[in-house]
């Protein structure tokens, strides 16, 4: 059973555009939802994370929108830049959990 579903698998956006990646989860016990950014040959690095007590969190050009009732959350990258080209993974975990459950990843390409 896939705990976290992510879409789209790949995304191509023009420079300056908005990139949107969506995730849905199954387990209502999840209460921490990070997004990880991974460049080729590197390990995943935390980009931004949200708890379910808020519906939105913004850090610079990156925003997480969270819909608890729908069990969905999304990453919005405003003014996308070529340097944002990477693979993005959503994930979920719970307070007493022992692992992160990762989505399948989205390969983002920002065209200059």
């Amino acid at each position: 059973q896939q705990q976290v579903k992510q879409s789209p698998q790949s995304l191509i956006v023009q420079k300056g555009g908005i990139s949107i990646i969506n995730c849905a989860y199954e387990n209502t016990a999840f209460d921490y939802f990070p997004w990880y950014q991974q460049f080729p040959g590197k390990g995943p690095a935390l980009l931004i994370a949200i708890r379910p007590d808020v519906s939105e969190k913004k850090e610079g050009r990156f925003t997480i929108s969270f819909n608890k009732s729908a069990k969905q959350f999304s990453l919005h990258i405003m003014d996308s830049q070529p340097g944002d080209s990477a693979t993005y993974f959503c994930a979920a975990s719970s307070l007493f959990g022992n692992q992160f459950y990762f989505g399948t990843g989205t390969s983002l390409t920002v065209i200059p």
Binding site: P34, Y36, K42, G43, L46, S94, F96, F102
Partner: protein
């Protein structure tokens, strides 16, 4: 900035051979993990380790796999008899506290089984 370091960066081994992947977690972290990523696929959980014992393991982590923290700093993943399908990127991660805080990932070890 503290970081998780992994060695080697790339390991090529023959099928059936044993491999040991090494990780040095961030010094004040208490929770340690191994994940793997088959090329182009999602990051998959293998095992979590706390207080010198396994706290959770996935179905992937069968009897061919083992972990240990031999000297209080290194955290190792051993695969006893490698199979072709073990070829993947293996990531070590550490956590100062589980659940709601950032997990820091190493740069990974690319394991190629031939």
């Amino acid at each position: 900035e503290p970081e998780v370091t992994q060695t080697p960066s790339h390991q090529v081994t023959q099928m059936g051979q044993e491999v040991i992947l090494r990780c040095v977690p961030i010094s004040n972290h208490l929770y340690f993990y191994w994940y793997r990523q088959i090329l182009g696929q999602k990051v998959e959980f293998l095992v979590s380790f706390y207080n010198n014992e396994i706290s959770e393991k996935s179905e992937i982590f069968d009897d061919q796999f083992s972990v240990e923290r031999p000297d209080g700093s290194n955290f190792t993943l051993k695969i006893r008899s490698t199979k072709l399908e073990d070829s993947a990127m293996y990531f070590c991660a550490s956590h100062v506290d589980r659940g709601l805080t950032e997990a820091f990932f190493g740069q990974g070890t690319r394991l190629t089984v031939v």
